[in-house]
């Protein structure tokens, strides 16, 4: 179904040390990961394992040792080829829904009329037609995250980096948003790298799940997910196939969480 041969993102030996009050903290140690074009890869792991840090390094927001290579070229900083969605929405509070979604296009120098066409289409896709002139503070969490996703999609990046994108939403909204993301991914086949602590979410959305170790983070286990995407959520989540993968990933994460927990208790 997919041409999995072409690597889109190559993370090679990435290490990251943070300065803290108690001296340097090693967040990532020699992390390697390759994401192929069109793949949806999730990174799960115990909290504080450095999974978000890895995503920020791929985004070009944090400098780190090692290389992040996109389409064969090492990155030098943030770029419009990588769209990012953060857990805290990160909408520009001083811009309306319309201007938030159109922000990246305007930066590219696109004319207002053309911009308006794309924004108008995306507003409909995310179901927020009629809310174009609202400011972020007037929106609910789910609406904000829809706008954040639309803002990222407007620039049509080849890669989506998602940092616990639905972590701040209530359970019902989260499921709706997951389905929307899945639909968008199936339509656009963008390369997605998502960080989450929700194992069910990872299994439901990804092709592949990488489990990260307790700090310093490294990818220690990978699970390939082959689910029939034609089936509905209701069918899928009760299926044997779904639950067996979910349980294996869950156990793997739990082992790491216990390691991390034990260490914290010693300290």
């Amino acid at each position: 179904m997919l041409d999995l041969a072409r690597p889109k993102i190559e993370i090679r030996g990435v290490s990251k040390t943070y300065a803290s009050e108690h001296g340097p903290v090693l967040a990532l140690r020699g992390t390697d990961l390759t994401v192929n074009e069109g793949e949806f890869v999730s990174i799960v792991g115990p909290s504080g394992c450095g999974k978000s840090t890895l995503l920020y390094v791929v985004g070009g927001f944090l400098a780190a040792d090692g290389d992040v290579v996109i389409d064969g070229t090492p990155i030098k900083g943030p770029g419009t080829d990588r769209g990012v969605v953060f857990q805290e929405y990160a909408l520009f509070p001083w811009l309306t829904v319309r201007d938030n979604i159109g922000y990246g296009l305007e930066r590219q120098g696109m004319a207002a009329a053309e911009r308006e066409k794309i924004v108008g289409r995306l507003v409909k896709v995310i179901g927020l037609a009629g809310f174009e002139n609202r400011y972020p503070r007037e929106l609910s969490g789910g609406m904000k995250q829809r706008v954040a996703i639309a803002r990222t999609l407007a620039c049509d990046p080849a890669i989506l980096l998602l940092d616990e994108p639905f972590g701040a939403l209530d359970a019902q909204t989260r499921e709706i948003m997951q389905d929307e993301l899945l639909r968008i991914w199936l339509e656009t086949r963008k390369t997605v790298l998502m960080v989450t602590h929700d194992v069910t979410e990872a299994v439901y959305l990804s092709n592949r799940i990488c489990v990260m170790s307790a700090r310093p983070g490294q990818i220690i286990e990978e699970f390939s997910v082959t689910l029939d995407r034609g089936r509905s959520r209701e069918e899928l989540v009760v299926s044997e196939q779904f639950n067996s993968i979910r349980n294996r990933v869950w156990l793997s994460v739990r082992r790491q969480a216990l390691v991390a927990g034990g260490r914290n208790e010693e300290a």
């Binding site: 920020y56 985004g59 070009g60 927001f61 900083g77 943030p78 770029g79 419009t80 990588r82 769209g83 990012v84 953060f86 805290e88 990160a90 520009f92 509070p93 001083w94 811009l95 309306t96 922000y103 990246g104 930066r107 590219q108 400011y135 972020p136 503070r137 803002r151 990222t152 620039c155």
Partner: protein, 268 residues
């Protein structure tokens, strides 16, 4: 809400606000007419009103108020521009911050009026001394608030802007300054208050004109009804200046949470 309803609502709120002021004036009148205090020291409201009318007729108020407002405005505008610039520079450059922080910290709590005699020595009697005092008083709240507004910009906003193609230089006008605007307006409101205080104090100490001088002069002469009239004038002007700034802030910062409270209060 329909338009007439809103008008009625605002009118009602206006009345509610004015009632305590009327009561205050009444109490003042009663105290004076009952002979509880010496009328020479606390003139009755009617006497103050008569003095006010007299001052208006003679053009004294208009002339001196213009002078005071000129000094306060120039000092405020210069202080705001320099304060915003210094605040932004502090956030931009570590070295600049390391030099400026101790100076800002050391002078922040200094009552700036203590420097007026020194300024009078340096700059003489008149405009420059008053403007310098206002400038200095406005500068510090502007620096502190601008700096705070810039450095509290959430990382994810900066990162989002970068991922959407915003260059390093463009981040300043598009993200950092925008994020700092609510704090900058808070600083402006504080500075506006200071500008009146310092303009008037400087005029009392080192000036031949202005409302401050007028108040001081009538006080010296013992014509307290005229002194009160001048005070009432500056109170009214300062009050309206503050209201104008609040309205302006609300207009410019509709996107910000601070505007919500007021909007909610207007909802049925």
């Amino acid at each position: 809400m329909k338009k007439p309803d809103r008008l009625l609502f605002s009118a009602k709120r206006g009345v509610v606000r004015i009632v305590p002021l009327i009561l205050f004036g009444l109490a003042w009148h009663v105290v004076c007419s009952a002979g509880l205090v010496n009328r020479d020291f606390l003139p009755a409201p009617a006497a103050v009103a008569a003095a006010l009318a007299d001052l208006f007729k003679g053009g004294e108020i208009a002339r001196n108020l213009t002078i005071t407002l000129f000094r306060a405005t120039v000092g405020l505008v210069l202080g705001a521009i320099c304060g915003i610039w210094i605040g932004v520079m502090m956030a931009r450059s570590r070295r600049f911050r390391e030099y400026v922080t101790p100076i800002v910290g050391g002078t922040y709590s200094l009552p700036k009026s203590a420097l007026i005699p020194l300024f009078a020595l340096w700059f003489g009697i008149g405009n420059i001394t008053s403007i310098a005092a206002v400038f200095l008083a406005c500068l510090l709240p502007m620096i502190v608030n601008t700096y705070h507004g810039v450095v509290t910009t959430p990382k994810v906003l900066v990162w989002s802007a970068e991922a959407l193609g915003t260059g390093e230089r463009e981040l300043w006008p598009r993200i950092f300054i925008r994020n700092a605007l609510p704090d900058i307006f808070t600083g402006l409101r504080i500075a506006l208050g200071f500008s009146f205080v310092l303009a008037i104090s400087a005029e009392m100490i080192a000036s031949t004109n202005g409302i401050g001088k007028l108040i001081f002069m009538y006080g010296e002469n013992g014509t307290y009804d005229y002194m009160f009239a001048a005070i009432v004038c500056i109170v009214i002007v300062a009050f309206f200046a503050d209201r104008v700034l609040i309205l302006l802030t609300r207009r410019l910062l509709v996107w910000h949470e601070s505007a919500v409270a007021e909007l909610d209060a207007r909802r049925p």
